[in-house]
Point group: C2
Amino acid sequence: MAEASAFHGRTMGCLATTHSKAIHKLDIPSLDWPIARFPQYKYPLEEHTRENAEEDKKCLEIVEDLIHKFNGAGKPVAGIVIEPIQAEGGDNHASPEFFQKLQQIAKRTGAALLIDEVQTGGGPTGKFWGHEHFNLPEAPDVVTFSKKMLTGGYYFKEEFMPSLGYRIYNTWMGDPAKVIMLEEVIRVIRRDLLLETVQESGDVLMKGLLEFEKKYPQHINSTRGRGTFIAFNGTNTSKRDSIVGRLKLKGIHAGGCGEKAVRIRPALIFQPHHANIFLDRLEKVLCEL
Amino acid sequence: MAEASAFHGRTMGCLATTHSKAIHKLDIPSLDWPIARFPQYKYPLEEHTRENAEEDKKCLEIVEDLIHKFNGAGKPVAGIVIEPIQAEGGDNHASPEFFQKLQQIAKRTGAALLIDEVQTGGGPTGKFWGHEHFNLPEAPDVVTFSKKMLTGGYYFKEEFMPSLGYRIYNTWMGDPAKVIMLEEVIRVIRRDLLLETVQESGDVLMKGLLEFEKKYPQHINSTRGRGTFIAFNGTNTSKRDSIVGRLKLKGIHAGGCGEKAVRIRPALIFQPHHANIFLDRLEKVLCEL
């Protein structure tokens, strides 16, 4: 089971759970796996508490219904695959309550809960793992990681250890050279308190962006994020594309995701003064539009 | 389309083409892709020319029949995936003529020919690519590599270039650090003439093993190989396992593959005097049995 707009990779099994861009899936065979819906919140959150809680409820009902439907049809759902923040799909966030209840559904229906932390893992949300923001009563069953973690991997609960040898095996077995580099990366994250830097820089970005969305509501809205893992929407796709293009001309690399989001993905060493440079140039772009 | 006993990887799409050990495929969903048969030769080759030529013919007929069957059933065969030497499946070899005719079938039926050089690529057969032994009139359409090549990759003919951007894409795009290391590996292979070393050491191994199979026919037979990519059979599975285990006790790491093969996979720096150490210890094992 995966969700609409999810991105979980490009090899064939992963791709069966990916639903962000049609181009990714073109010509590749896929599987009859259920696709649920990731919550689509209205922003600012504090003005839409009731609607967003209803959206959570509706999405959770869809998940549980799909599991029962597939289980009943003899295609039992072995697991649920979800991003802590649905990145490629548009930087879509869901509440801690949503993830807590999703974990309850997983446990109740016997499906494993896999949280895909390929984009969120390693610090960019201000915690080492994105799912640490959700106060889950217990760890997810499986967590996948890559990107900032330098090598692709996953950790898992002991009961998910394959009972037979040779079930999970490959030539480089985790690529030891990358693991040595990763140890150094983690040492530097701790030594330089980079998770705190991410939180501080993220606060500067959020504060600035929330001001801009009040000041330029004709151009941007829906700022959301954790740490420096932040996005805002252009009022439509061409507005978004124009912002991304104009930022590039001012030396700022930001990306598009989903239909109309601009996403910010700085490195962990991005500091508050870098955040101010970003805001300064973004405001110039917003004035130009 | 893949062949029985083939090993092409463990991710889901790859696994649909892998048929070497049942344990690899347990619990993993698969696809209705045709599986042909890889030639099973009788050794020594020079005493079984007629039977082996018939085996080639039979296997090629199966390939062509399967393609027509699947094409006719509305499941067109887009490509043929094959190892130059079927390694995990038991170090099964096929003649240059077999591969030449397979390429003709591929061209005639519009299926791409992918040669999986993950084990054979990078020198162990005494040529840089295993398929160079086959004198194909033109290059395969796609060649995959890994292991000795340090990073997983493939090369392909220009007409296989995706027509749209973003079709083939991932975070590290070939892992540039590994490509730098690979450049150095290739420089050393050239500087130290390692392909010639592989041929010389392989000749010593083959000569010694062919003598042993005459001297100890109650234990081993069917020596075959290219370069140092060599295997021989135990007379049965338990004999094979016993040889591999006893070699280990004498400091020699060899592997089993297929039902009863012992495979030798030395590094490219393995020299004729190392081959003599191997033969000396193997003969001690054969005397012990």
